[in-house]
Symmetry: C2
């Protein structure tokens, strides 16, 4: 038998002990894979992820067993299996041609650091299982706080490592960050008062009764992320009480409409608990008028949260940080490091302006999280958590502000370049201009564009609807076919552009955060989409017949 034999051939005490103690065999399949990952990640992914995709149903046939196998497997056998069934049919999210979601190539050093993190296997919930990782995480939160709020040195000296304070919370992602922010906002609004012990202790019903409100509401943009609805559901506020306010032509929330809505709510004795501004909407990348939203929040005496999960990294650019003006007025800010900060999946953060803010959700437990301790778990929604902060720390220090400046600026400028190409291309229509590095567009052959313009000028609603509806089908066809071809990927979404009377319109969506995406790749994508359009046997011919 080969050397891999002793790696779990049979389940004996000895063989098990070996998998917990014996080093990786340098000639094993897994070692060879690891070597390739190290030497050439892009090459490894390019070679091993198949371009042409199978259907999900086909892939599912390999994942049918519902019983945990009785017998152990060789590591080498398992590795072969997942290389064929899993890795080959995963998604090449870091490909420079994969510009449909908020993923990117990663700096090479995050891979060995991830392995180090797993090997150390710290649990950040408490100091006893994380020690130096606790101050490291607090430093990262301090740096991110400074990035947003730019307080003086003294502030950070006093608060950053203090047991009584917290400048934010690390979490697995933006959803948990948004939930944490709204949780604190709710608990501060319905805090203990007289006989009432606070919503945290006595619940929402008692809180609303005590304060005499009929209900709570959260005001945000119609472009708000779906995690806000999830937060409202979870927190007992109800999804209907997330009030989505219409946006203007630039996909920025209409603050005047929001003010009117707040007045209506007040008449119904519904208390506005929070306003959520979006800094980089998921669908169009636009930034709400944060200064005006902050002013309205002040008028309403409510919490002001900014969801900058995606756009927050723009603060790292001196050239573009002005786009987020007003974010420093927010009570809390969500930023995902695994988006435009080039950290692997699983690194979200909520940052609190006030270092005492998170006391509204502080909790204790006997065996850990003792009062007065610096255990991070006292003020996080999650309990046990890995030391992901090391990856953010590494990127901040190794890339530095001057590195991020280049990365962020290049992304935005690449999006502007792409927008210009789309704009100038006779057969494409830019739907939303990039404010950051995200834009939406669609394929509309020149003749169809002309016909549509004519129909609009004639106010021929039937024709407009006919054309747009066929275009929706064509956009879907192109996006799906492009994805299946496996050469490149854009995502698609449905938005309500003002230029089409807020009609639900299907569009391509691209996110240009990968530093390896070149202008020529972008040009090729337009070319590829043009070619795919002509393959469509349904919408394309119908469209052409309408002209």
């Amino acid at each position: 038998m080969t050397v891999s034999n002793y790696r779990q051939a049979t389940a004996s005490e000895e063989s098990l002990k070996r998998i917990f103690t014996i080093p990786e065999d340098p000639n094993s399949t897994l070692s060879i894979i690891e070597q390739k990952l190290t030497e050439d990640l892009a090459g490894f992914l390019g070679d091993n992820i198949v371009a042409k995709e199978l259907t999900l149903n086909e892939i599912e046939t390999w994942f049918q067993d519902h019983k945990i196998p009785q017998s152990p497997s060789f590591v080498s056998q398992y590795t072969d299996e997942i290389m064929q069934n899993l890795v080959a049919h995963s998604v090449h999210t870091s490909a420079p041609t994969f510009i449909g979601h908020m993923t990117s190539s990663l700096p090479y050093f995050v891979l060995p650091l991830t392995k180090l993190m797993a090997g150390l296997n710290q649990n950040l919930v408490k100091i006893e299982t994380s020690k130096a990782f606790t101050p490291l995480e607090k430093q990262v939160l301090g740096m991110m706080h400074h990035l947003v709020y730019q307080q003086e040195q003294d502030f950070y000296q006093d608060k950053m490592h203090s047991a009584e304070h917290s400048l934010g919370a690390f979490c697995s992602g933006g959803t948990i960050a948004n939930i944490t922010a709204l949780w604190t906002a709710r608990n501060i609004l319905l805090e203990a008062d007289g006989d009432f012990k606070g919503v945290a202790l006595q619940g929402l019903m008692a809180g609303l009764r005590h304060y005499g409100y009929n209900d709570l509401a959260i005001l945000t943009s119609e472009r708000g992320h779906y995690s806000l609805g999830k937060a409202a559901d979870l927190l007992g506020i109800g999804r209907e009480n997330i009030i989505a306010i219409e946006t203007d032509a630039d996909n920025k929330v209409d603050v005047e409409l929001m003010r009117q809505k707040a007045e209506e709510l007040a008449k119904q004795n519904i208390r506005v608990m929070a306003i959520v501004g979006i800094a980089g909407t998921t669908e169009t990348g636009n930034i709400d008028p944060l200064v005006e939203l902050a002013a309205l929040a002040k008028e309403l005496n409510c919490h002001f949260h900014v969801d900058a999960a995606w756009g927050g990294a723009t603060l790292l650019s001196t050239k573009y940080r002005h786009l987020l003006k007003g974010i420093e007025l927010a009570d809390s800010v969500t930023i995902d490091a695994h988006k435009q900060m080039y950290v692997p999946m699983g690194a979200g953060m909520v940052i609190f302006k006030s270092p005492t803010h998170s006391q509204a959700i502080t909790h204790h437990a006997e065996y850990i999280l003792r009062k007065g301790s610096k255990d991070l778990g006292r003020q996080t929604l999650e309990g046990s958590r890995p030391g992901m902060a090391i990856l953010v720390h590494a990127c901040l220090k190794i890339i530095g502000l001057s590195g991020y400046e280049i990365l962020i600026n290049n992304s935005i400028e690449k999006a502007k370049y792409f927008a210009k190409q789309i704009h100038e291309h006779p057969d494409f229509e830019l739907i939303t201009e990039p404010e950051l590095c995200l834009l939406t567009y669609r394929y509309v052959p020149q003749e169809v564009q002309d016909r549509l313009t004519q129909a609009i000028s004639e106010n021929d609603q039937t024709k407009i609807e006919d054309i747009n509806s066929l275009l929706d089908g064509l956009t879907q066809f192109i996006q799906k076919h492009q994805r299946e071809q496996g050469k490149s990927f854009v995502s698609r979404t449905r938005i309500r552009p003002q230029q089409y009377q807020r009609r639900h319109t299907v569009v391509f969506r691209t996110v240009l955060a990968n530093p390896l995406t070149t202008e020529s790749i972008l040009n090729d994508i337009l070319q590829e989409q043009t070619e795919i359009a002509e393959l469509d046997a349904q919408f394309y011919p119908q469209l052409m017949s309408l002209i």
Copy 2:
């Protein structure tokens, strides 16, 4: 300049492009570290984590900068820095002598697989960014469902990969799993009915009004994990409405007391929303009478959740799975793979008995999570998530049931061995017997034990209190000193043992899940604690003077 020069010496487009494309230099500090991790993880950790610990204040001095540095750093320089400041002062959670928390050595293959996971950087929220990882995760959930509920083949064939069903949800840990379970329970209880559109849409206030309840409550054991309080806070139920019922001498919840409490609540028109049984309490490792709790939940027509975050892995042992009898009656079960399943931090799961259960929290978004899709994000509390499921999948397949059988049984039997040693040692007192591989004890010199026994027989409450209070101080001293010596680690907690009239009592707590912990290590720990006790200049002399 050396070869590492091109790794981010200056922030230029070229240097940045290199960190996104250039392989790791095999002679770099980081490569050498990675090599050591691969060749001998235990050796690496043993060599690089310093035994004698610094105070947190000392460590904090290295993490003081609150500004993101302007200039980039060399990767090698950064690596040196964290080796000194972070790795050296992290916690050796996988040491066989670190038996204080739910951490362990890990099988070697999880490290390269973690690196592969980071390299692939899938986002499990949707198929477009995870593809084959989606069926893989569903298979893991299916296997865990079968482990708990053992349904027939047909059931899994129909439900495991179905878009309309879900057998559970992956998440970062047990806290999110418990929250998810209680979230679904609340939403099912206060579901849409007539005019009422359901708590998810209209909120808790409207839900309670519609159904005519004064409030909701959750019944659990006084040993329930603190995440349950967090869930009650978050969900708007209120921490006071988590009703902690006393446990019996075996630290199992008293079901009769719980029934009485439920009757009281009914009289106040407070609706019991859920009963939470604990399968492996965090502090003592005991398992609640699950069959009786299930029966009571049925009587009360409420959700029955079992928090088996820690103890759930016992189901992998045919010898001991009977200890969790009744878990198959639960509507939902929490299991953490990063505890006794030997997966690195960040792998929690909630399993739902009914495959339609999680529809109560289903949500949608335009650009992803379309209705009818199999996107996992439709039914998870978190949004973007890494592909941790691969690590659970690998452990299940490579270790297999027969491997886990040995691991789980050995842990329990090791705890029984340790309990016996403590019991037979003249100077130690076993406080809670191990039902699984967790036990609590304290150091009580023989003469003090005799004096305490005498005081109890004389019912001399003052003396009993004096002795116990000094023992609390001594236990704290020993635990702290032992931790600081850095040779071994047990945790401490405060429980209320029946043998001491439910007085709050400080105890050592040990978790014996590390397969590399030997009997001789356990004997050495008792010896070390005995020696430390005599170093104590305060409590030890006072105790001896009481005799």
